[in-house]
Amino acid sequence: MAEARAGKWPGGRAEALAAWALALPALILMILMLLGPVVAVLLLSFTGWSLGDAEMEWIGLGNYEQLAADPVFWTSLRNTLIYVGVSVPATVGLGLGAALLVESVGRFRSFYRAAYFLPVASTLLAMALVWEFMFHPTVGFVNQALRTLGLPVTDWLNNPDVALLAIAVIGVWQNLGLAMVLFVAGLQGVPKDLYEALALDGADGAWERFRRVTWPMLGPALVFVVAITAIRSFQVFDTVAVLTEGGPNKSTEVLLYTMVQEGFRFLRTAYGAAITVVFLVFTLAITVAQTVILDRRAHYG
């Protein structure tokens, strides 16, 4: 329960001082580089400033009122939530599956790990362009594969019904490797004797092994992976910017893209700031809720 009880004893005062001294460089940088600017953005959201303007005019909640009335914003919010709702479970699920499979084979483990991790290490900017080729309606890998399998095809990035899904596919492709590696790490932390105890208790099928030991033991790793994946999913930007620019018909418009679009491209800086604020509030709420819910169920041993 180690309580923070600074100053109560000589060593305590020294410990507290040392702690501040050690934390200070990072804290100052964190405030200068991240939190301070965020506060600045918060303040900016109450003005009518536009990039390059000489003056700044205080307009109170004006931007937020405009936001509430802006259908693009609502679409964007909805899309973001859908994107996160699709890509997080998919990334986590596939990442877990890959981790289980990779850990269950003896040979080529390093190869598989590297193959699945490679997308994490790639420049999304370039890979988004490659994916455009992949999704090409006629000669793209995706549609050729689907056609070979006798499945229906579509112009993925141009069909408002599936474009967001296609973007999510790329997101999953990119983040899956990280989730996998984190799960692999989690798996290696599961004591082997639990599986042995389980085998003697009468369960040695893969499903029971997974359900009774692996899954519950991965709890903490799961919390971590979900949190990281959710944060990264909320921040989806590059793919949308390069591939669809929010289209067709705003079907891939996501919050961060809208924010950058308004703030940087349309030069409505203050309005973009207001979107940022809403974005942060949302990520905060959802990430915290997710983490708390999962965390309560996870076991830390």
Partner: protein, 274 residues
Amino acid sequence: MVDRLGPLFRHAVLLLGAAVMLAPFVLMLSLSVKPAAEIFAPQFRLLPEQWSAWENYSAAFTKVPLARFLMNGFIVTFCIFAAQAVTALPMAYALAKLRWRGRDTVFGLVLLALLVPPQVPAIPLYIGLWQLGLLDTYAAIILPSTVSVFGIFLMRQFFRTVPNDLIAAARMDGLSELGIVWRIMLPTAAPALAAFGCLSFIWNWNEFFWPYIAVQSEHLMTPPLGIAFFSDTESGTSWGPLMAAATVTTAPLALAFLLAQRAFVRGVTMSGVK
């Protein structure tokens, strides 16, 4: 079930997955050796009829100073990681092992900062750096990334697994708190730090948005800016050189991970994830 399906089946599934994961890279390589005329050929071919590898790769290196960009990439990512390690380790130690009023608040701030996407602080930072006269320098690229909240978080998780006795022993042996960070925690944390270093390298190497804003001068630019150079919507993207640049940019990361993957997995294993 997976057990009974046998290793062959597992390998089949994994291979299929690996094929999907690698397909874009194969395509990237394929495009990077094709002449412009073949990129939109009616029938897709993996290998070009007429190789343009030389043209594309030399364009990638001559139309932009890609070699210089690569070097900048190394300089920048190295400095960033060094700074991140120097700031994150003490803070993570203080958060994990010291008792002080304000610890929970500071940790709360770290978690909060974890949620901030890089685009958000861009404009205030830009103006701030301008006032310091630092725009268009290496410092402009490096400074905003000198603190990694992810790194602080990861290292804190790891430090929590270090036994308290080790720290008590060090204190009795006469080490100061800073001494404990460098002499005790840093070497103990080496694997976790390597894992974090790997991710820091990857993420900062690939960062496009901020370096693009922060620097003007070509001799300061980082590899992703080199890729963007070839993408031109108005008069057509130069696919071959672009893919060549992308290949060259991705290669160090792929290599780094291949070399470091065991340490990486071990590092993550040892930190708070489990």
